[in-house]
Symmetry: C2
Subunit: 737 residues, 2 copies
């Protein structure tokens, strides 16, 4: 059977309604339709062609990105696209560019590690919508300019020698009361701004973060609007040096973006260009705190991390789609009838691939839920309700870390699952990896974030004795007495398919690890010393907790994919969800807000209730999600078996039964694997992979693609006469090399 016959044959075996699953994946019928329309728009427009990207030199690549980004902007204006449509269009153009963040009109504004994603137009967020740090006046002045692209901004925070630690920034902004100006200066080489996307070659303005100095005193790090380049000829203004920081990982990848370096030599800006929403500097140089609470900025962090989790599911599902399709097309080694076996039929392949497929679905739903969380947090912040912030912060930090680490590893695993051909750029996977991996570092290094989560957990655990009842994602710690003693009831492999059993195992694991680490910490005289010494162990309890969040459903804790899954599957849960929604609707008490409520609402708000009302979950869709859900959880259990066993949550025998159940689930998923990746509804343009083609016509297209390499421009290579011929003809002695 040829490649073009295999995938149709695979699709004919599907046991569920793929169209219904596409809507589940998209989030709603509306979201599906917008996404589908934009994907086709991009795929059908030759201006957005991208398959030559890895063959272009840096200059050519960058110029082409300028063209595409400008063209996309033009199309958005011409077609009068909504913000949602423009966002999807940008997504499917699939090329990091200076215009990215204008379209989603939002961006981080604090504590970035690497500004890679953060190109433009930060003004739109920093000053817009009350989320940012600009005053009303500043918004009125700058927003229209930014929104129409009359200026192009970038976000200049990180410095050559300073990443995670914002308080370590060296750039200074010294107030000169004589001229009513700030003098922006780079006192050292390590104070050079470094990494901001869009800075190197494009941005006309920047939000520059610098140490504020007035009257000889330091007042911490603040943001300043600084014009960088002339709006007439694009030349950097006197006192400003700007350049690109050079090649990054991968061929195309992030080399389409002009991450930049920027230094100031006593550059002056008007006092009014300091972002003064939180702190004002008066004409006399006095610092005045405004009444606006600083916590506001944390709301943006929740937003940014939500988009990162959503990006994780996109990147992961894309890699899984490629690897799954090619695993069906590719054959290696014989079976009885002389035809080689499809690689996807090997259990070793399934054992590596199917958990990644399950993770793609898991992260998709977690991302959807976080989108809701962001809206909720924003509304609460505007009402000066900060009560949910610490937990929301820990929750999003942990999920950002767990999902991006898993996704980066998964993309590379998918590449390996494609064998040798995965190493070709034509597979799309090398570029996908290269463009994805910085997600583990920016917006908080993943390990640093897990330590923050661990700190939150330990604090919660330490307060257990004082009678303070943990809520939300940590509510299970309130039942720590039970969880320290509970025994897993699994006696057969099928027992692992009981949600309550699975959840208890994950809760017990996390709770027992938490108690164990808290006890170890208590042995140190100085808690901070203990925290430093035991940090590697603490990271592990943070991971356990975050995995519980994803897996859990019983207590309706936050961010629960599995809640989503289980709720779909076990109708007795549905009543519970509705109960919570009613509770929220009737009580309407912001202060009794719990994550239980969030969860219930998230499901309802996003797609669950809609599904219930329309009564179209789709034939077989539930069963597939159920299988994926258990694969996800059981695979985690196997991967972290040491945790489960060392805390005595399960027995070795039960672990072995979990493995048996996992194998059985693989067999259930196998006939549906192609349809499950079809449900992502990705165009071949977006996938950008010969191996992942929808039609399975891999080998002829791979062959065709090879000839496009510049090396094939001529049959005899450039360099033959100078190097190869003299070698063959034994004339190297006098050759000039």
């Amino acid at each position: 059977m040829e490649g073009v016959d295999i995938l149709p044959h695979e699709r004919s075996k599907t046991q569920f309604d793929v169209d219904a699953m596409k809507i589940v994946w998209a989030g709603s019928r509306h979201a599906f339709e917008v996404s589908d329309r934009m994907a086709r728009l991009v795929a059908s427009d030759p201006a957005f062609q991208k398959d030559n990207r890895t063959r272009q030199g840096r200059k050519e690549l960058f110029k082409n990105t300028l063209r595409k980004a400008t063209y996309a902007w033009k199309r958005i204006v011409e077609l009068r696209l909504t913000e949602e449509e423009a966002g999807r269009l940008r997504f499917f153009v699939d090329e990091p560019a200076f215009t990215d963040l204008h379209w989603v009109s939002s961006t981080p504004c604090f504590a970035l590690f690497v500004c890679l994603f953060v190109s433009i137009n930060v003004f739109v967020d920093l000053i817009f919508k009350g989320r940012g740090q600009g005053t009303e006046e500043q918004q009125q002045k700058w927003l229209p300019l930014a929104y129409k692209m009359q200026i192009i901004g970038c976000y200049a925070q990180t410095e050559l020698g300073h990443g995670s630690n914002v308080q370590g920034l060296e750039t200074t902004a010294t107030f000169d009361p004589d001229k009513d100006e700030f003098i922006i200066h780079s006192p050292t080489l390590t104070s050079s701004k470094w990494w901001p996307g869009g800075l190197g070659k494009v941005a006309t303005h920047a939000i520059v973060y610098a140490r504020l100095i007035t009257n000889g005193e330091e007042h911490g790090v603040h943001g300043f609007i600084v014009q960088l380049r002339s709006l007439d000829d694009h030349m950097p203004l006197p006192g400003i040096t700007i350049g690109d920081i050079g090649m990054k990982f991968g061929n195309g990848a992030y080399n389409t973006m002009d991450n930049g370096v920027l230094t100031f030599d006593h550059f002056r800006i008007p006092r009014t260009q300091m972002l003064m929403r939180v702190l004002q500097v008066t004409r006399e140089g006095k610092c005045v705190q405004s009444s606006v609470p600083r916590q506001l900025i944390y709301g943006t962090m929740v937003f940014v991390r939500q988009t990162i989790v959503a990006d994780a599911s996109s990147a992961l599902s894309r890699a899984v789609c490629i690897a799954t399709r090619y695993s069906a097309v590719r054959r290696q080694f014989g079976s009885q009838d002389g035809v080689e076996t499809q690689v996807i039929d090997y259990k070793t392949q399934q054992n590596r691939l199917f958990p990644l497929l399950a993770s793609a679905y898991a992260f998709r739903f977690v991302g959807e839920w976080l989108k809701w969380l962001y809206t909720d947090v924003t509304q609460r912040l505007q009402a000066n309700d900060f009560s949910t912030l610490p937990e929301a912060h820990a929750c999003t930090a942990g999920l950002k870390s767990v999902t991006t680490t898993a996704t980066a590893d998964a993309i590379e695993e998918c590449r390996k699952l494609c064998g040798g051909h995965g190493y070709l750029c034509a597979s799309g996977l090398p570029e996908l990896f290269a463009v994805y991996v910085p997600a583990c570092t920016y917006e908080g290094d993943n390990v640093v974030l897990l330590l923050q989560v661990a700190r939150f957990l330990v604090k919660t655990a330490s307060q257990l004795g004082s009678g303070k009842k943990p809520t939300g994602t940590t509510a299970y710690l309130g039942r720590v007495q039970d969880l320290m003693q509970c025994r897993c009831e699994v006696q057969t492999a099928e027992d692992w398919l009981k949600p309550s059993v699975m959840l208890e195992a994950f809760e017990a694991r996390s709770a027992r690890m938490c108690v164990d680490r808290a006890q170890n910490l208590s042995k140190f005289a100085n808690p901070e010393d203990g925290f430093a010494e035991l940090s590697a162990d603490l990271v592990e309890v943070a991971v356990a907790h975050c995995q519980l969040i994803v897996v859990s459903k019983k207590r309706l804790v936050a961010c629960n994919l599995e809640f989503t899954f289980f709720s779909l599957i076990h109708s007795d849960q549905e009543a519970l969800v509705l109960t919570w929604i009613n509770h929220e609707a009737t009580t309407n008490e912001p202060n009794t807000y719990t994550f239980e409520t969030i969860s219930a609402l998230s499901i309802s708000g996003v797609w669950f209730i809609e599904k219930l009302q329309q009564d179209i979950p789709g034939n077989g869709v539930k069963q597939q999600l159920q299988s994926l859900c258990y694969i996800y959880a059981l695979n985690l259990l196997h991967k972290h078996l040491g945790d489960f066993l060392s805390t005595g949550c399960i027995t070795p025998k039960q672990a072995s039964l979990a493995n048996d159940q996992l194998r059985s689930l693989y067999s259930q998923i196998r006939p549906n694997a192609i349809a499950l990746v079809d449900a992502f509804n990705y165009t071949d343009h977006y996938l950008g992979s010969v191996l992942g083609r929808y039609d399975g016509n891999v080998y002829p297209k791979l062959y065709e693609e090879a000839w496009k390499d510049p090396l094939n421009d001529s049959v005899v290579p450039d360099g033959y006469n100078e190097y190869i011929r003299p070698m063959l003809k034994q004339q190297l002695r006098n050759a000039r090399l």
Copy 2:
């Protein structure tokens, strides 16, 4: 403290003799001196400059590689370098090129998955030294041509649709008795040769693997010498189509190599160009088996996998060197005195970095030992002694898989350990990763190899009842009764520093897993069905076994770094080693050959005895190796805790003590970390990393490097007038994009 002050300060804290360690790392004083001399030769020659590699387009990059490879060859001839010297020179040039394998004069000749590394000059090995498949006559004709580079060969085995499974190749070689010729033909698109290095643009000849057909009958896959290009003008000969297969992962990386595609349209070669050492085709077209045993070719596999393990330690040590130095230079977040803390002082960093440092040393010594094993196997094969082959094969297959997987993951981990700057090509790490990762796929996919090991283990276990005593690497299975019942004696963290305790834990884990898997397999009526169904579990027991090989010493099993380590440390072992050597010398019985003997000899042969005799282990060297050894083993224990606990080899309490010990070892290694990577003796040229510079002068050089990017050729970027300006000036409506 500036970067340039930090590393000297670090070096001043060193507690061991770095020069002595350099020799331990190199293998011998002689090896150190050769390596050191060649490294300096390459580093000091501007012709070998490589720091512009990631900025070059494909054509420019490839032409430059042609120049370098030819120049290197010229230098080798001019300087009359020995084979060893030439090998080291090539190593330090550090750029995959068509000439690679000429210099080491050896290459794989069977069962390649991807011919990525295998460029030229395969003739030298295939026909040379009796290792290959050519007859004496063929050797006499082709070797001199190949050796002088009058022809350039490549190894054309894998096809577009066929990788691991050599028997699935489709290219045909049909004997035409009328003309006494073979007709080489590509009957399908998927039969196109695909991947061979050097094929795309350079090679004049190839060893082509094809299905032999004579008198209408198939006789399996054999090798044929085929001229591809004219020696006059380098044009492909009529009937032959050749091209490059296109861009691969990374910027420079393997894009310096012309991996190629090749199809034949009824191309004719003389009958005498079939490699006929094993099978001959007579003038009449009859097939005649020669008396040469087929097992000979397996010897080459041992060789190839030995070089792959050696490459693993090189790549890993390079990444670790970069990450360790930059972790000392880089500071993040405050400490008490206001100066930010060196990143290397964080326990989370140590917990990720130091086990990789330990692995680099571990793989280095395993590679040294395998070098000896290859020599031994070759000598035995020439004496028609095949008794050690199955075990040698399983052992090298497993070690290849375990070391390459660990190294690929470790390089990426090192990149992440460098924070955002690790994402810059200037860090050297993206390219190192991209150029390294195919090692997980070529020469046997790592998972496929582990399944072979598992098959060997299960077979051994299944024969335990029959009274057949397992030997060598599986000898511990002979004590399976004991190992099923033994209880780990650890009561304090320090108890983990007893070699016997550590070894027993690893042996018990592997043995118990082996028995468990064998029992599960026995439940299947058809063993092959069971093997397929349980393959994912079987991979795990193979990993456990291979890790035991690396960790073990007590029974003197093969490939034991830890044997090396422990032997250095515990002098009671030394007598034992000498006993074995004497045993070998006096008995001289090839058939009683065991891995115990190999191990003893390996140590002696490579560097252990030499060290003992010269009595210069170096001040403190033993202690450092000891610490690294335990870090390596305890980290494995922690990572695979599920195995140890589920098989009841250790208790959760003991696991917790192991963790305590690990932290303590990190503190012992910390002051020596910089010196331990200095001991690799890598030049800045070879490292190719601004972050890993010997002098620690990271930031000024990173800044300097940025300006070399082509995007910085002009201040205003190409594309400003066409794209940026119209956007800023709101003139997009009529812009041509």
